[in-house]
């Protein structure tokens, strides 16, 4: 059987249009955009063109886009840069965030050496509004909330969060890595102060990311050594990466409506098949709003580790919460925060891509059902406890 890849929230291949857009900048047009000569000028023109394309796709202005190396760096710059800017200005420093953030946000918040408030979420993954208001009332350098959760696919009510934060004058950062191209993301309609995205989740290159910084939002640099990207991200820019990122984002935003409609239909079919075949199956995030491409489930009475391994052995590439190869099988912090006690520890995240077919989804359901049936019966036969 051909293997099936349903782990597009982990990463995606670079799509053909993106590769061909990048190609000249890996070859002939190799100049350093900071150089004054014609090679430099051509590179700079391409870089700024990419910046415009990206800005336009998000509803931002060209100078509000910084090219950085990927989502993690973007999150770090947003949070640490905001805290540092306040610290230098002699203002109190404080970070407010949620319990379901990516580690790039949670760890950066901890590393910021500022007061930190981590807000609880409801079973749908949305922050508790009263807790949010309480935290905002104390003021903060930044409130960081993930737009679409990478493990469960739940969507934060960003519009409401931004409205509340504005009342208290707190700038909002959002990790929109899983949101762009999946749900409508427009920084004028939902006026966040800072927004992080990365290329490789939407068929762009890995290590190419961006940070939107609304004009007037003060940010301090984390790296030093040059004036590139307004001094906030010094170092020679990766022109090919920027072009690839911008092309990928533009395509993803253009196709978002169609992507969402078709992927949601496939996701629902997958969900229905799994539900009917696995007694006691838990679908995560049902109480909230979910992005169209992610399905996270909990399966009772099977060992999490053996489930992951068996699915791979049968040719189905999915994820057990979030990507990790070092043998960790403990429950993720996201699910811990969202779910009640007694939730099955065996978690599977399916994430659909633009090329995922109905056949892929049907086969994925079939493989899952047969693996779960086998593991459930062998666990029962051996009488072994499932951790």
């Amino acid at each position: 059987m051909d293997p099936i890849y349903l782990d597009y929230a982990a990463t995606t291949p670079v799509r053909e249009e993106v590769r061909s857009a990048m190609d000249p900048y890996l070859g002939d047009v190799f100049g350093n955009p900071s150089s004054i000569h014609r090679w430099g000028r051509r590179a700079q023109a391409a870089l700024e063109e990419a910046r415009s394309t990206l800005a336009e796709a998000l509803g931002a202005r060209r100078r509000e886009i910084l090219f950085v190396r990927g989502g993690t760096e973007s999150d770090n710059l947003a949070i640490l840069g905001r805290v540092d800017a306040d610290r230098r200005a002699g203002r109190p420093t404080r970070v407010v965030t949620t319990a379901v953030e990516h580690k790039a946000v949670l760890d950066a918040a901890r590393a910021a050496e500022a007061d930190c408030t981590v807000l609880p979420v409801d079973p749908g993954g949305a922050v508790h509004e009263s807790a949010l208001e309480g935290a905002l009332a104390e003021g903060a350098s930044v409130l960081s909330a993930m737009w679409v959760n990478n493990e469960v696919g739940t969507v934060q009510p960003m519009e409401r969060i931004v409205t509340l934060a504005q009342e208290y004058g707190v700038p909002v950062h959002t990790d929109a890595v899983q949101a762009v191209g999946k749900i409508p993301v427009h920084v004028d309609r939902v006026p966040v102060a800072l927004l992080s995205l990365t290329g490789h989740k939407l068929y762009g290159p890995k290590s190419a990311g961006a940070l939107f910084v609304r004009e007037g939002v003060a940010l301090a640099a984390r790296l030093h050594g040059g004036s590139q990207e307004g001094g906030l991200r010094p170092g020679t820019q990766d022109v090919a990466g920027a072009v690839g990122l911008a092309t990928a984002v533009r395509l993803a935003v253009d196709e978002q409506g169609e992507f969402a409609r078709t992927r949601r239909a496939l996701r629902e079919e997958l969900e229905a098949r799994l539900r009917s075949g696995i007694p006691g199956l838990v679908v995560h995030g049902l109480e909230g709003v979910r992005a169209p491409h992610i399905l996270s489930i909990g399966i009772p009475r099977v060992d999490p580790e053996l489930l992951q391994v068996s699915l791979d052995m049968e040719g189905l590439a999915v994820s057990g919460g979030s990507a990790c190869s070092s043998g960790e099988t403990s429950m993720s912090h996201v699910l811990e925060a969202m779910l009640s006690d007694g939730t099955p520890p065996a978690v599977v995240r399916y994430s659909l891509g633009r090329t995922t077919s109905r056949d892929d989804v049907l086969r994925a359901a079939e493989v899952t059902l047969s693996v779960v049936a086998r593991l459930t019966s062998s666990a029962r036969m051996s009488g072994s406890d499932v951790r």
């Binding site: 791979d312 052995m313 070092s326 072994s384």
Partner: protein, 368 residues
């Protein structure tokens, strides 16, 4: 789906031996699934990947698996390893004995726990890179020493549950270490020139006292100072905790003693380390506690061969007493440094019959 019985789980540590074990099985036509066991938490040792089982081991195993075109997974067995190996290791030192943690790992974690997982993954057999051989004949499976006598690891495998023997494969037991490295080079495996791991995997610095200090209650007697005494009770010095000593170890005492002194015994109740001249290290026999047999237990009066430490040859002896609680053996020639806590493994030629942990040497009276 593959033919039943052809799917094998191979324990890959990221070293050259298990890499070649996997390669040999792939060549033999098995459907091989590579597994690295994560046995303890590496963060906090401050010594990432120094040993075979470290994270570097995982990465190397994965590279080898990719080269061989087989899947590779990491199994988290931290809880089981801690329960069955580390806890016992600490306890043995605490009571003044010298443990063989690799024996416990092989008896429990590496084969029994792996087999339980393998069974659920449809793997009929488990393989490892140990230098031992196994002969599967109708009705019984015999565990034998490896062909390479310098690398033979039969000493560490006496504790295997006998019922799992028919499901084990040891593909490098027929090879010498030189041949193993040669095969690894031919196959272009990244582990071909990897040095041997010597230390205990969960004590990568080689200093187990740190682990004992973290694991034992504060002021545990094993780590408190005590007296160094001669057999007649004469005090000849102080030691910083008896857990730092092992029987047979030479003890420099500085000043006054012309002949070298050796640790003869550890007396935890008195916190004493007993020392004496070399000739007092020899014992005519020993008692093994709770012996474990891969085949039937030998009867009283039986002539056997026994190995009392890693890399030592086996020596002839006679069974004096054989019950499920204990086995008493008398050596044909007195043996040096019979060390409580170490394994004693009983052989018939190359074949491992079973073994146990040494409880105590049989002592000769001090000559009048």
């Amino acid at each position: 789906m593959t033919e039943a019985g052809r799917r094998v789980l191979v324990a890959m540590s990221g070293g050259v031996d298990s890499s070649v074990a996997a390669a040999v099985l792939v060549e033999a036509g098995y459907e091989v699934v590579g597994v690295t066991m994560k046995t303890f938490c590496y963060s906090g040792t401050g010594d990432h990947g120094k040993t075979c089982c470290g994270l570097d081991g995982i990465v190397d195993a994965r590279r080898v698996a990719d080269r061989l075109g087989i899947p590779h997974y990491v199994f988290d067995v931290e809880e089981e390893f801690h329960r069955d190996v580390i806890t016992d290791f600490v306890h043995e030192y605490a009571v003044g004995r010298t443990p063989n943690p690799c024996v416990n790992c092989n008896s429990n974690t590496k084969f029994r726990d792996l087999l339980a997982r393998g069974t659920q993954l449809g793997c009929a057999r488990i393989a490892s890179g140990h230098y031992v051989r196994i002969q599967h004949t109708s009705g019984e499976s015999r565990l034998l020493r490896g062909v390479d006598r310098n690398k033979d690891q039969a000493y560490f495998l006496w504790g295997l549950p006998p019922e799992i023997l028919p499901r084990l494969l040891f593909p490098v037991g027929e090879l010498t270490k030189g041949q193993v490295r040669e095969r690894a080079r031919e196959l272009g495996l990244v582990t071909a020139e990897k040095p041997e791991s010597q230390e205990i995997c969960f004590v990568p610095t080689g200093n187990y006292r740190d682990l004992l200090e973290r694991s034992l209650r504060p002021r545990h007697p094993a780590l408190e100072p005590g007296r160094i005494v001669l057999e007649d009770g004469t005090s000849v010095g102080e030691h910083p905790g008896y857990a730092g000593f092992t029987v047979g170890q030479r003890k420099g005492l500085g000043g006054g003693y012309s002949e070298p002194l050796y640790v003869l015994e550890i007396r935890p109740a008195e916190r004493e380390v007993v020392v004496g001249p070399r000739e007092r290290l020899f014992s005519p026999g020993m008692v093994i506690g709770a012996p474990h047999w891969l085949t039937g237990a030998p009867t009283e009066g039986a002539a056997v061969e026994v190995q009392i430490r890693h890399r030592a040859p086996s020596v002839p002896g006679t069974v004096v007493r054989s019950t499920s609680e204990g086995l008493e053996l008398r050596f044909v020639e007195p043996q040096r440094a019979v060390t409580p806590g170490q394994s004693a493994v009983v052989f018939d030629g190359d074949r491992v019959l079973g073994g146990g942990r040494i409880d105590a040497p049989v002592r000769e009276e001090i000559p009048a």
